[in-house]
């Protein structure tokens, strides 16, 4: 029994309980409405992908598709192939760029945050503040000059252009440094007494102890590559270099209002969306914890 209920008369209690139940029903109704608002776009994406072109030409459309044309997914793949793009290649490009970016980011940020957390050197705090200050600057300022740099280096339409500018991250250095600094000093002193070198200590003690932060960085960095649009859209112009986001938009954009490829477009959108949702379902715990711990806005 609820604590408040102890001080109530029979009729008061009845009224209170009715009110409470009604309120709970209202709360659930609201939450379910929000869930539908979130889910309907996903349903509509798949439903539209399955419809026939004839059905999509009708002005008013039924909530459920009349026929389920699974071959539209194949149709989307063929449509992309006709335009010089290979869906498998686009997937592999994205995964490769994601992996290379993640490996690069982990390599650079682990060493940098180790230096900031553990080593003593002149200008340490000054340098760290300088790095942090760059985080306030909007990405557009970097992108303008990085674009011209990449052109001058002749790196347009190469993996280098897609990976190198993102192979380090001040934010992850900050994030990892926080984790490293939580490791007790005594461990370091003990290791020193045993004659363990600094880099050996990093690999034997610090990295294993920061495993959960490193997992978070890996997941967020891979997700970042999958969802990146602005930079690939500038530097990966060649159909064989597309990543999923800019490939999807470039190949499947409807050029006018009477476009007949809406079902293919939605099939392609489904093909881009589903892998990440599967990964999310498997790694739900890590992803949600990682996002809330790091506070990265999507």
């Amino acid at each position: 029994m609820h604590e408040t209920e102890l001080f109530m008369s029979e009729t008061e209690l009845k009224k209170y309980r009715v009110k409470k139940t009604l309120f709970t029903i209202l709360v659930y109704a609201f939450l379910i409405a929000v869930a539908l608002f979130i889910l309907i776009p996903f349903y509509w994406m798949v439903a539209t992908a399955l419809r026939s072109t004839n059905e999509l030409a009708e002005t008013r459309i039924s909530f459920f598709p009349k026929e389920w044309l699974w071959e539209n997914f194949m149709g989307a793949i063929v449509y992309a192939a006709d335009r010089g793009s290979n869906f498998l290649r686009i997937y592999l490009n994205t995964i490769l760029v994601g992996l290379l970016t993640t490996i690069g980011t982990l390599f650079t940020t682990v060493f940098a945050s180790f230096a900031f957390a553990r080593l003593n050197f002149k200008f340490k705090n000054g340098l760290f503040s300088l790095l942090l200050a760059t985080m306030m600057i909007p990405g557009e300022i970097f992108i303008i000059s990085n674009y011209t740099t990449v052109i001058q280096f002749g790196m347009i339409n190469t993996y280098w252009a897609l990976v190198l500018p993102f192979a380090t991250s001040v934010f992850y250095i900050f994030f990892l440094r926080q984790t490293f600094m939580q490791i007790p000093n005594e461990l370091y002193l003990a290791a020193k007494v045993d004659g363990t070198g600094d880099f050996k200590y990093l690999f034997r003690v610090m990295i294993p102890m920061a495993k959960s932060t490193i997992t978070t960085i890996t997941i967020l960095s891979m997700m970042g590559a999958w969802n990146a649009f602005i930079w690939p859209n500038l530097v990966a112009k060649k159909p064989t270099m597309y990543l999923v986001s800019n490939g999807l938009l470039t190949i499947f954009k409807a050029t006018d209002d009477t476009s007949t490829i809406i079902n293919f477009q939605m099939a392609a959108a489904t093909l881009v969306t589903v892998p990440l949702i599967i990964v999310f379902i498997i790694l739900r715990k890590y992803i949600m914890r990682g996002v809330s711990r790091s506070g990265i806005k999507g």
């Binding site: 970097f142 303008i144 602005i230 209002d257 959108a269 881009v272 809330s292 999507g298």
Partner: protein, 326 residues
């Protein structure tokens, strides 16, 4: 003794990869973009296109360093006089003013409701998180289909209850989409896209509030509304401040969502720049890089965006100092 050791060389080695990359892709761009913004008549290079072996065209600049005629604040003046920039500034401001308060309030309501239930809490939270892990472009295209004039869910639903279809982002029955209808679709998508992160932050904030406050309120039979305004909101104020700042910055940088909803444009076919944003303007100028002066305009508008973001952050930090209870 150990505290005074100097690891100069080790530190240099450990920091070298990061500093090298940042020198090229972070520090140089800051200086270069600022310089570009103040150069008059800058030409990046004379362009020639060379077909590569696979038939795809490679771009090479003839001159490595661009040329310019002078230095000054002319680019900022030109940009501010540009009608497209003016409408980008106006559009972005309207989007910010409409979408930020709405999405923060809605996220707060959802989080409070979600925090008050026990059953299905994890399931609902997972559902609400889905937009975070989906591709902005893919789901933007879905929203344009949801609101498409023909074969869209929204118009089909309107017709099913006997109403006329609305030309949301494309014309129907001789009517063209308007600023308001396009803004409406964009706002709905922006809210949909941004809820996940806000709910996650608010909910974890609420779960860390000491239960004693709520128990004390219960003993006094405090009404729900008062509990919300006197306990939840004040104790959640650091998260609310954080979310508001990041939402403002995010909304000022709106770009991908607009591009996706309008299939690569900034508006309906009838008016392709209708909802152009500040970032959109910047990239339009950047894509035009081979035209003299365009790269400088891109830089100037990016710096203006930076200025606006700095200003907003400073104002909000000042406000939070007074309003946030830590």
């Amino acid at each position: 003794m150990l505290e005074y050791k100097n690891d100069k060389w080790k530190a240099l080695l450990a920091l070298a990869p990061t500093l090298l990359l940042m020198a090229v892709f972070t520090f140089y761009p800051i200086i270069n973009t600022v310089m570009l913004a103040f150069m008059r008549g800058y030409t990046f290079g004379v362009w020639y296109d060379t077909p590569a072996a696979d038939g795809w065209i490679q771009h090479f600049g003839e001159t490595i360093n661009g040329t310019y005629i002078g230095i000054g604040i002319g680019n900022f003046i030109t940009v501010f006089k540009d009608d497209t920039f003016k409408s980008a500034l106006l559009n972005t401001s309207i989007m910010v003013i409409v979408s930020v308060p709405l999405s923060v309030i809605i996220a707060l309501l959802i989080s409070v409701a979600l925090n008050s239930i026990k059953r299905f809490q994890a399931l609902l939270q997972t559902i609400y998180f889905l937009p975070y892990v989906t591709n902005t472009i893919a789901l933007g295209l879905v929203f344009s289909v949801l609101f498409s004039a023909r074969s869209g869910l929204i118009n089909s639903a309107l017709m099913a209850i006997g109403l006329d279809p609305v030309p949301w982002t494309s014309p129907i029955m001789g009517q063209n989409p308007t600023y308001l209808t396009c803004l409406f679709v964009l706002t709905i998508y922006t809210i949909w896209n941004g809820l996940a992160f806000k709910i996650l932050v608010f909910l974890s904030g609420m779960q860390s509030i000491d239960k004693q406050y709520y128990q004390a309120a219960q003993v006094d039979a405090t009404p729900r509304r008062r509990v919300f305004s006197k306990i939840t909101v004040p104790l959640l104020s650091p998260m609310i401040a954080y979310i508001t700042i990041t939402s403002f910055i995010g909304a000022f940088k709106a770009y991908s969502s607009v591009i996706a909803i309008f299939n690569g444009r900034f508006g309906p076919l009838t008016d392709p720049n209708l909802l152009i944003t500040l970032v959109g303007y910047t990239y339009q100028k950047l894509e035009n890089r081979s035209v003299q002066g365009e790269l400088s305009k891109a830089s100037a508008s990016a710096l203006i965006l930076f200025g606006i973001i700095m200003l907003i952050t400073l104002v909000q930090l000042q406000v939070s100092k007074k309003r946030v209870h830590y």
